[in-house]
């Protein structure tokens, strides 16, 4: 698309990025998982294939089908034509839950290529790098201080959200590869020493392991025995160093870690657990569904409370005092918390969990080995290649640009793996492979397509939950039960198949208006070309969503152009069915991010 000042040039659909953007979910997914492709496979009860489409892209479908931050869902087109998006994440789990044994589809360990790579940390980032490089014959050494692989997926995400067996299986799919050697319970204390070994490259996927504290808050030292850093505490619970907590628990913080802390506390003895957060409820970082889950486990969230002190009596923590505040926003939307000058609020408690954020920490990386750090103590990296200023050293996952999530770690890992491969083969790191793209017509007959073109009106299906009393009594009992196969099918039918693209060939168009007339959401217009803002306004339905592109043709015989607003196209195929000359066709577009190796 050209900039504002000019008339629009015909859309170049040969550029894979054009149609890629139309597939909203896939475009929003950091790893660009071909979502509609696997959703169709689920609808066809081809779970194993659906799983493998995921595995190729996001490496941990069973884990992500339960825990993904799901940036795809707010992006999903369905959410623009009705209330709720497709339950993409839950469908991924349907594929994982119902797959057959997939071991025969796992890539073989490639013939050794003589190169050795060390990977620090066995979180999703390192594991994904290892998976991508193993088929190429790299000798991969994965180091992690913990006794098992998985990183934060194991130590932080509680079992009631992610059963251990699911994680074990997906870690093993990777580590069973003969080219991967794991060195667990092995902490790397010096990168310098590691670099001194004969590794051709080092990948650092050590995460962001440092939880923020409130070191200066009065009472912090005196109450230390009963005040814990959230992520450390969760790790201790996961590794069973901690098995109980006091009855009254205050969790400080409003992010997902706070939600995991409070729900874990509810399961190991906390009968009165509260979340107390500085910000207004609406500004909390936690995902809406995590807040809902906490609420349904009787955990009140008290907002607009800024911690003043830990109250200690007779050397023991008895509660906390908070300043009550209200939020004010300036013209730029920046928030200020202003004290209401009321009496500080006191909440009694036996224990406090501090879940107010996480940071990177690299105490084991010497500062004299050519790795530059910025003022936030983050490594200076190339944002495309993930290479550090020491060309041998690559970063990915939370270690790269600070704490994110699993899917981001995986997406970065794919790119880092490509870089490591190029580097080890002596190629330029900028010589990166483009995406794999196919575009295939779905036409079978006048009213027949090889995809299910009808658009169902069903509203989003809800997942069943385990019995509450049972769940609160067992830290390891999974709360969400996942869709049944039948519900999975119904939910899959809600997907609009946004990857089945409306492809327009202007040479065939006779401007009969049939597509304009049939389109249920009035996406198509034949108008005079103009500058983009005017053009957007001149359409049958003004195209107000600027995040969505216009698909425009070249000049037609009447001098007008075809302009389609992609925003709320239902991919129903009616335009193509009603077109007498097949100027419109429905074509399935598959976009695959190229990985270091063909999976």
């Amino acid at each position: 698309m050209t900039a504002g000042g000019l008339r629009l040039k015909p859309t170049n659909i040969a550029d894979p990025e054009y149609f890629h953007k139309v597939v909203d979910c896939q475009y929003a997914c950091p790893a660009h998982t071909p979502v509609p492709e696997y959703i169709r496979l689920i609808a066809a009860e081809r779970y194993t294939e659906a799983y493998m489409v995921n595995w190729e892209s996001n490496v941990f479908p069973g884990v992500l089908g339960r825990t993904c931050d799901r940036p795809c869902e707010p992006a999903c087109r369905r959410g623009r034509v009705e209330e709720e998006p497709v339950a993409i994440c839950r469908l991924k789990r349907v594929a994982a839950d119902n797959k057959d044994d997939i071991t025969e589809f796992l890539p073989a360990s490639g013939k050794k290529n003589g190169k050795k790579v060390a990977l620090v940390g066995a979180g999703p980032a390192s594991l994904a790098v290892a998976r991508d490089l193993a088929p190429l014959g790299y000798d991969l050494h994965v180091y992690d201080e913990n006794a098992k692989g998985g990183g934060f997926m194991r130590s932080q995400i509680p079992s009631f959200r992610l059963p251990e067996a699911v994680l074990d299986q997906e870690v093993e799919y990777i580590t069973d590869n003969k080219n991967i050697a794991t060195f667990y319970s092995t902490r790397i204390d010096s990168l310098k020493a590691l670099l001194a070994k004969d590794y051709d490259a080092v990948f650092i996927g050590s995460g962001a392991p440092k939880g923020r504290d409130l070191p200066d808050l009065p009472g912090r030292k005196e109450g230390a025995d009963n005040i814990h850093i959230g992520i450390d505490w969760l790790g201790s619970v996961a590794f069973e160093h901690i098995s109980s907590v006091g009855k009254k628990v205050i969790v400080l913080g409003g992010g997902n870690t706070a939600m995991d802390c409070c729900r874990t506390a509810r399961r190991i003895g906390g009968s009165e657990v509260k979340v107390i957060v500085r910000s207004p409820f609406a500004d909390m970082k936690a995902s809406p569904w995590e807040k809902d889950d906490a609420a349904s486990e009787d955990i009140p969230i008290i907002d607009n409370h800024v911690p003043l002190e830990f109250v200690i009596e007779e050397g023991k923590l008895v509660g906390m005092r908070f300043d009550r505040v209200r939020a004010e926003y300036d013209a730029k939307g920046r928030r200020k918390l202003i004290s209401t000058d009321e009496e500080p609020a006191f909440y009694p408690c036996d224990e406090v969990l501090v879940a107010i954020g996480q940071e990177n920490a690299f105490p084991w990386i010497e500062r004299d080995i050519d790795i530059e750090f910025d003022k936030w103590e983050l490594p200076e990296l190339d944002t495309v290649t993930y290479q550090s200023s020491n060309p041998k050293v690559f970063f990915g996952g939370d270690a790269a640009f600070g704490p994110e999530n699993i899917i981001t770690a995986v997406a970065q890992a794919h790119q880092a793996a490509i870089s490591i491969d190029l580097f080890c083969q002596g190629e330029k790191l900028t010589k990166r492979p483009g995406p794999g793209v196919t575009l295939v017509s779905q036409k079978m007959g006048i009213h027949e397509w090889s995809y299910d073109s009808s658009v169902v009106s069903d509203v989003r299906y809800q997942v069943p939950h385990a019995d509450k009393t049972a769940a609160l009594g067992d830290r390891k009992l999974e709360v969400e039960l996942g869709f049944s196969k039948d519900t999975g099918f119904e939910e899959a039918q809600r997907c609009l198949n946004c990857d089945v693209q409306t492809v327009f060939v202007e040479a065939l168009c006779i401007e009969c208006d049939a597509c304009v007339d049939i389109c249920p959401t009035e996406c198509i217009s034949f108008v005079d070309n103009a500058k983009e803002p005017e053009l957007r306004d001149s359409l049958r339905m003004p195209a107000k969503n600027l995040d969505q592109d216009l698909y425009v043709s070249d000049k037609l015989p009447t001098g007008r152009i075809m302009a389609k607003d992609e925003d709320v196209c239902l991919h129903c195929g009616l335009c193509a069915e009603r077109c007498p000359t097949s100027a419109w066709d429905m074509q399935t577009f598959l976009y695959q991010v190229t990985k270091a190796s063909q999976i």
Binding site: I510, E522, P580
Partner: protein, 349 residues
Amino acid sequence: MSYIRPEFRHPASKTNTSGFTRKDYEGALSTLCAGCGHDSVSNAIIDSCFELGVWPHRVAKISGIGCSSKTPTYFLGKSHGFNSVHGRMPSVATGANMANGEMAYIGVSGDSDTASIGLGQFAHVARRNLNMVYIVENNGCYGLTKGQDSATTDVGSSSKKGDPNPYEAVDLCSMALQLGATFVARSFSGDKEQLVPLIKAAITHNGFAFIDVISPCVTFNNTPASSKGFEFVREHREATGKMDFVPVRSEITTNYEPGFVKEITLHYGSVIHLYKDDKLDCTDRNSALRAIQEHDEKGRILTGLLYVDPDSRDFHKVQQTVKQPLRDLNEEDLCPGARSLNAINASLR
């Protein structure tokens, strides 16, 4: 596979003055050939009724036989309808209108339905100035029976499999003018910008409103040698001038667009604004007839509003019949009894 239309509509779809969305004016999914001009006319009717805010339950659609006559199924699915016999739409419309003059009547017909088998009925409904919209979806062929030449096929025009037509064509607009129609227009299915305001004005007009819509049959008569194909019509079409329809409710601004020539106030207070209609005087029957003739001689098709009589008196008025729906009259009024009959008879002796 689909003969199923998705339920979703554009989230920014508006609601009209009567509280309806455009979806409330849709009908069943069309079964006509893909690309048929008639589907565009159906959509123009939907747009017009939506924009005017007519109440769907106060509209009756009447048609004859033909692809065109099938179309009332595809619009205004919540309105009344009667799909009658070939060429007989006018008599059914007349009966219905006589029984209930408070409804809007939209008649849809084809060129064969009107100019061949229905020519007699057409002539009389025009003469009577029945208050209705009469749309002919004119494709110059018998679409439904596989594309034979019709009475509006131009001399020399040939359809997909046919020879050039040897017979002189019936020009329905000229006929309507000669027969006393009080609103006459011609348009093209491929130009909704022109067609929609015409249909809106026709619905608002009090009397017989005739629109001849050239509506290509993509399957049988969209050949380069046909004078009713998309290409030919686009190349040979001329418009009387842009026309705006301004409904009663909206505020009439005094800032007319450049080229403004004339304002015609219709029966219920709605207004037609005309721009740049050079020689044609839309309120003069002869001027309209002449303009059609002159364009025809030059091989041009004149489209747009051709004639309107804003003071039109419809059939009810002329006949002095009750416009009040018969169903609302009580038994006494409907059947005044032997005494009244005797009185009438006596007055005639």
